[in-house]
Amino acid sequence: MAVNKEGAQLIPGVSRLSRSQRYAKRGLFLMKNKVAVPRKASDRKAAARDEKPTDVNVDLVKALTHKKSSLYPADTLRKPKVNHKSNRPAALKETISPGSVLILLAGRFRGKRVVFLKQLESGLLLVTGPYRVNGVPMRRVNQAYVIATSAKVDVSDVTIPENINDSYFSREQEPKLKGTEEEFFGENAVKKAVPSHKAADQKTIDNQIIPKIRSQNMLASYLRSSFSLSKGQAPHLMKF
């Protein structure tokens, strides 16, 4: 589409070309090395030291005597934006504290009532069924997907092994598949067994919590039952 000067605008102020058409025409996307390579930290520090204005006169002299390079960079380099945000773990909801009974709302165990143990470094919640009570093993859950109830289990003297952290729950590297038909249909697939050390960890936690659960009437069967809404119940109007 050839556009002469007169035809550049449809009416004053309204360009004939759309934004994407102009982008295509200008051909700036053909430029290489658009992103500037970030300098090393040491270089940056040195630069900062150099730039520091020590004396106004010195700066003025520098500015006056500074000879600019006769060469300009061929490509316009774009500075990457500095990101000042840092990832902080979410603050625990006020209604949740260690020992709180939570209702899981998403995932495999949705509807299950579980006991909250502690918040991990990532901000996720460490919960357990306990496994022997309702079949929910120690898991990490996002607090956005739970309802906190006012029911509590005393977990003040439950010790959680040090090794149970976020990396404890990370997935193990699986061997790469060859892409055969049998593999695709899951034939001869070996069901992954729970590692014995994880089963042992679960047992140590369960053994500590279960006596506390048994001490409260009906609490064990409460944890065994799963949550559901019945007719006329609206969760936003209910107290938990």
């Binding site: 009974v101 069967s221 039952s225 107290k239």
Partner: protein
């Protein structure tokens, strides 16, 4: 024969139908016109206000010898002396309102416990009924 038993009159105890203070009682202190009255509930936390009759329900209870536009303090004394709050609390109506608010404020665990206890109760009653039927037919 009097057609209406509950009259909109000074001293009549009313129940608020809606709003923040729904379910609480107050006393009619003055009648403004055929749509509105001034009510006051010094013992129930209902502040003195003008209210439409649409928003209140009249009860059977009336305070005796209450003059028009009685002040809050005098009204409070009259309520305590004549025991109208206690009389209200005895009614099935008040008990039902109370029950409803208790139910609404139950926790999840409480609801579960009630469900379990009701089941147990049902089991006992049904077993008893079955055995009675058996002895009667035999």
């Amino acid at each position: 024969m009097v057609a209406f038993k509950r009259l909109a009159q000074v001293g009549r105890v009313v129940v608020l139908n809606d709003g923040l203070k729904a379910g609480r009682t107050a006393v009619i202190v003055d009648i403004i016109d055929h749509n509105r009255a001034i009510i006051d509930g010094p013992t129930t936390g209902v502040h003195r206000q003008e209210i439409s009759f649409n928003r209140v329900t009249l009860t059977d209870i009336t305070l005796k010898a209450v003059p028009r536009t009685i002040g809050s303090n005098a009204l409070k004394r009259a309520i305590i002396k004549q025991g109208s709050d206690a009389a209200w609390a005895q009614t099935a109506w008040a008990k039902k309102i109370q029950q409803r608010s208790v139910r609404a404020n139950l926790s999840d665990f409480d609801r579960f416990k009630i469900m379990r206890l009701k089941k147990q109760q049902r089991f006992i009653v049904q077993r008893q009924m079955a055995s009675l039927k058996k002895t009667k037919s035999a």
